[in-house]
C-alpha cells in the first residue's frame, strides 16, 4: 500500500511555513545552563514536562509488564546501582531529571537506553 495513493503522494509544495493538518505546533525553547551543577540543569524543563513524561513512562511500564512481568522491579531496584558507572555528567543529570519528575531513577535510566534496547 505504501506505493499507492493516498499512502504515497507526489512531492508536496507550499507546505512551508508550516500549517494545516500535518502541522501540530511549534516546538518550545528551553535553556540548559552547562555552568550549573549537572543535578540542577534540567529542573525547569522537567518541571514543565513532568505530566507528559510520567504518562509516557507509565505506558512503557505497562508494555514492559505485559511482556516481562518482573522487568520493572529489576529496573526500579537494580538499575540505579549502576548510575555511578556512567561518565560524568550524565549520572548526576539523570538523578536530577528523576527527582524533578518524581520518578524512580531506574525508570529514567530505562528511558535513556530506549534507543539501545529497540535497535533490534
Amino acid at each position: 500500500a505504501q506505493d499507492v495513493p493516498p499512502y504515497t503522494e507526489d512531492c508536496r509544495s507550499g507546505t512551508y511555513p508550516p500549517s494545516g493538518p500535518t502541522f501540530k505546533g511549534k516546538v518550545q525553547w528551553y535553556t540548559v545552563n552547562l555552568d550549573q551543577p549537572p543535578y540542577e540543569r534540567w529542573q525547569k524543563l522537567i518541571s514543565d514536562k513532568k505530566a507528559p513524561l510520567n504518562e509516557l513512562i507509565q505506558h512503557i511500564k505497562n508494555l514492559a509488564k505485559a511482556i516481562f512481568p518482573n522487568l520493572i522491579d529489576i529496573v526500579d531496584n537494580k538499575l540505579p546501582f549502576l548510575i555511578g558507572k556512567l561518565p560524568s555528567p550524565f549520572g548526576e543529570e539523570m538523578k536530577g531529571v528523576a527527582d524533578a519528575a518524581g520518578l524512580p531513577l531506574g525508570e529514567i535510566m530505562l528511558f535513556n537506553i530506549f534507543y539501545e534496547v529497540f535497535s533490534v
Binding site: C11, E93, F118
Partner: protein, 253 residues
C-alpha cells in the same frame, strides 16, 4: 527516520530530519495512531545549551532524554542520528554494559559529547566513526564548508561505511532512512526512493528550508511515526523544529 543534508548551488548546506519513533509499541485503534509516537510529541523541546552565557550548541530533544538525536553547534557542525536495526543490536551492548563490559559508549552520550566538544567537522567525523558504542546507528553529519556532509554507517564496534557528499559527481545531497544506503530498503518501508525523487524534483538550485520541508511533508516520508521535523543551517544560523501529524489515511511507518 529520514535525514538529509543538501548543498545548494552557492555552497550553503541545509540539514533536516524527520524523527520517527514508536513502531510496535502500541496502536491506538480509536485515533489510528501509534501510542508512543503520540506520547512523545508533548515531550519534544528545543534546547539551547549555554556555557558562559553563550550558546554552546542547540538540539531538538525529548524531555527526560539527556542524549542527543538532533543538534547543531553554531558555526561548526550539524548532526542527526537515525536508528539502524541489527540482530547484533543495542540490547546486547546494554547487557554487556550491565554485566561490567563497559568499553562502549551510550549512543546519545556520544552525540552529545560531539556537539559539546568537537571543534570541527573532521574531529566530529573521527569521533563518530571510531568510538565504540553499545548500539549500531547511522550518523548524518554536516559541516560549515561546501562538501562537508556525510552518512556514517556504524556497527557497535566500528564504522562500516562512509558516504560523503560529492558535488563533482552530481551528488549534491546525502539522504539516509533506516537502511544501509548501498542496499535496497525493506520493500514495505521504502521512504528513501520517494524522498530522493522529491529532492530531484526540487533540484539543487531551489534547495532551502521551504523545499526541504516539502520533501519531509510528503507521504510516506511523513508517516504515522513522525513526531517532529527539524531543519538546521550553519550558514544562515537557523534552527527550526515543528511537531508533525499524519492524519489518516497515512502509512503506519
Amino acid at each position: 527516520c529520514t535525514s538529509v543534508v543538501a548543498q545548494d548551488t552557492s555552497g550553503k548546506l541545509f540539514h533536516a530530519r524527520n524523527l520517527d519513533f514508536g513502531l510496535f509499541l502500541g496502536w491506538d485503534v480509536k485515533n489510528n495512531s501509534w501510542i508512543v509516537s503520540e506520547l512523545l510529541k508533548p515531550l519534544v523541546v528545543n534546547v539551547n545549551f549555554q556555557r558562559n552565557n553563550k550558546t554552546a550548541f542547540m538540539s531538538t530533544s525529548f524531555a527526560g532524554y539527556i542524549g542527543m538525536l538532533t543538534g547543531m553547534k553554531p558555526g561548526v557542525l550539524t548532526l542527526t542520528m537515525n536508528e539502524r536495526f541489527s540482530l547484533d543490536g543495542g540490547y546486547i551492548g546494554i547487557l554487556e554494559w550491565i554485566l561490567g563490559k563497559r568499553h562502549g559508549v551510550w549512543m546519545g552520550f556520544l552525540t552529545r559529547s560531539v556537539l559539546e566538544n568537537a571543534t570541527s567537522y573532521d574531529e566530529a567525523k573521527d569521533l563518530l566513526s571510531k568510538t565504540e558504542m553499545l548500539a549500531p546507528a547511522y550518523f548524518i553529519l554536516g559541516g560549515n564548508k561546501p562538501g562537508q556532509a556525510c552518512v556514517i554507517t556504524r556497527s557497535r564496534t566500528s564504522s562500516i561505511n562512509f558516504w560523503e557528499l560529492d558535488t563533482q559527481k552530481g551528488e549534491w545531497y546525502v539522504l539516509e532512512t533506516n537502511y544501509d544506503h548501498w542496499k535496497p530498503p525493506l520493500v514495505i518501508d521504502n521512504r528513501r526512493d520517494p524522498a530522493m525523487k522529491c529532492m530531484k524534483t526540487k533540484g539543487q538550485k531551489s534547495i532551502s528550508f521551504t523545499t526541504i520541508y516539502d520533501v519531509l511533508s510528503t507521504k510516506p516520508v511523513l508517516n504515522k511515526l513522525t513526531t517532529y521535523t527539524a531543519m538546521m543551517s550553519i550558514s544562515e544560523n537557523k534552527f527550526e523544529a515543528y511537531l508533525r501529524d499524519c492524519p489518516h489515511p497515512c502509512m503506519p511507518w
